[in-house]
């Protein structure tokens, strides 16, 4: 493989919940600029794996190296400041607030340096970022609607806009198309392709159409371990994958 250091590498990363090993010694490398899909049956440990990468869960063992730096011990907010953004599988927006406020919170983060900037990072600069992020997902006309009044598909897009407003280098999408209609899914794929021009994308996805359309490489997980890795075409032909996915 290429000699360039990966953007992200997990080294023998494991997570146990009590006696249950949700993720077992997973070593995954994601290159700068790629769209990487992680697929696998329910309970394969996909969400647990990315939760450890973004800092939601602490690993039981192993290391996470991001841009050449060990970030295993960093807290979630520190990882975000390094450019790792995460969108939740179950939409996690601020339901009682307007779309604008939902996106303004992550948008102002990058502007809050030093005491004075913390108190007043400048609403004009925040507004520009919010407008850009809402515009990227096509929600600019709904800025002042309450988030819980949006249609489900729009809530998913708002979740994505919140991640985009942090100007991520590594964007982790956890089942972003779940519950979306066909038309919404194809628009979503276009959007992810656009985002991938600036950021590396790690996407957990059940919908094989989306995986084949988007991913440069695919990682297959099962029972907490990596079962196979390769291009979408290789993965489709892989016997273990066919066995796991297409019935024994």
């Amino acid at each position: 493989m290429a000699a360039v250091a990966p953007l992200l590498a997990t080294q023998a990363l494991s997570k146990h919940f009590g006696g249950l090993a949700a993720v077992r010694e997973v070593s995954l490398e994601v290159a700068q600029g790629e769209i990487r899909a992680i697929i696998g049956p329910n309970g394969a440990g996909k969400t647990t794996l990315v939760s450890m990468i973004c800092g939601r869960h602490e690993p039981s063992a192993g290391r996470i190296v991001y841009r050449g730096r060990d970030i295993t011990a960093l807290r979630p907010w520190e990882r975000l400041r390094l450019g790792i953004a995460y969108t939740f599988q179950v939409t996690s927006i601020f339901k009682g607030l307007s779309c604008y406020e939902n996106v303004a919170l992550p948008a102002q983060r990058g502007l809050m340096h030093g005491l004075a900037r913390r108190l007043a990072p400048g609403e004009a600069a925040i507004e520009a970022r919010v407008t850009a992020a809402l515009g990227a997902v096509g929600l600019e006309d709904m800025a002042w609607q309450r988030a819980d009044e949006l249609a489900y598909g729009h809530q998913r897009l708002l979740e994505l806009a919140m991640a985009l407003a942090t100007e991520p280098r590594l964007l982790i999408l956890d089942e972003p198309t779940q519950g979306l209609a066909e038309a919404e899914i194809s628009a979503f794929c276009d959007l992810v392709r656009q985002i991938a021009r600036q950021a590396t994308v790690l996407i957990i996805e059940h919908n094989m159409q989306v995986v084949l359309a988007l991913a440069g490489r695919v990682t297959v997980m099962d029972a907490g371990e990596i079962l196979a890795q390769g291009t979408p075409a290789e993965i489709e032909r892989h016997p273990a994958v066919q066995k796991a996915y297409l019935g024994r």
Partner: protein
Amino acid sequence: MSAWRKVLALHLAVLLALLVLQFVLPPYHHTNVARIMVLAAYAIGYNVLLGYTGLMSLGHAMFFAAGMYGAGLPVYYFGMGAPAAFACGLAAGVGLALLFGLMALRTVGPSFLIVSMMFGQALFLVTLYFNEITLGDQGFILSEKLRPLELAGTQLGFHEPAVKYNLALAIFTGCLLAALALRLSALGRVLIGIRENEERTRLLGYDSFRYKLLALGVSGALSAAAGAGYALLFSYVGSTFASILFSIYPLLWTLLGGVGTVLGPLVGTALMFYLVDTVSGVTSSYLLFVGAALVALVLWFPLGILGTVRSRWLPWLP
């Protein structure tokens, strides 16, 4: 932004109305409104924690009392002047809030409520235990000891109603504007994020513990300013003000006026004050009426008065 101007105009108009009110009120209500303004400042402090940050405390009397004793004891024992005493009260409140926060903010939700109540009770018992110094629930009077303020050559005695009223207004103004500025700032946005969804806020790049500690510090400062002001203006310091009742009051005032609204605490405090005032003139069981009012509130106005106004008519109300 026009919304900004509207908000600022509204709050300045309220302050102006309070300023003018002193010239038209009869003496009895004159004193009442001065008292309401100081208590409302306390409720504003409480609301910073409950309304903006989503942390419910049942021990806030400790911050009010820290301000009260922090200001009152140096006056009583060392004859300290009012401005320095006020600063002592403020410092006592902030110090206590940060110390308390470092320990209690490890807990969340109902546990935080219980822990805050325990700390509040502990401070209440401290004021009783050291009754040789604090004179316990009998308390002490400051009027003999407190030197009048000197301002541009004139002496302003704390017993004069006009001085009382305008200093109360000054404390209220400071607390209201501080709360409004916090609410509209980038920090306020983070606090509201924590209130709505703490885990999400952490994953959006904010160390929620630090922001909650900050909110507690501000809340403690405003509550202590009110406590110190109350001691100096109304000349009495006693452990009743550290009791659980004085932790419940700001919760009730805030709920009545509208949790998470900047002006709600003023509305709630004023209404509850006059409800108690009116009813206790008729019967000694006034708490029964307070209770009935709260049941009605929860049933029909769960958002409080200004919370309901905001959700129905004025969405821009901060």
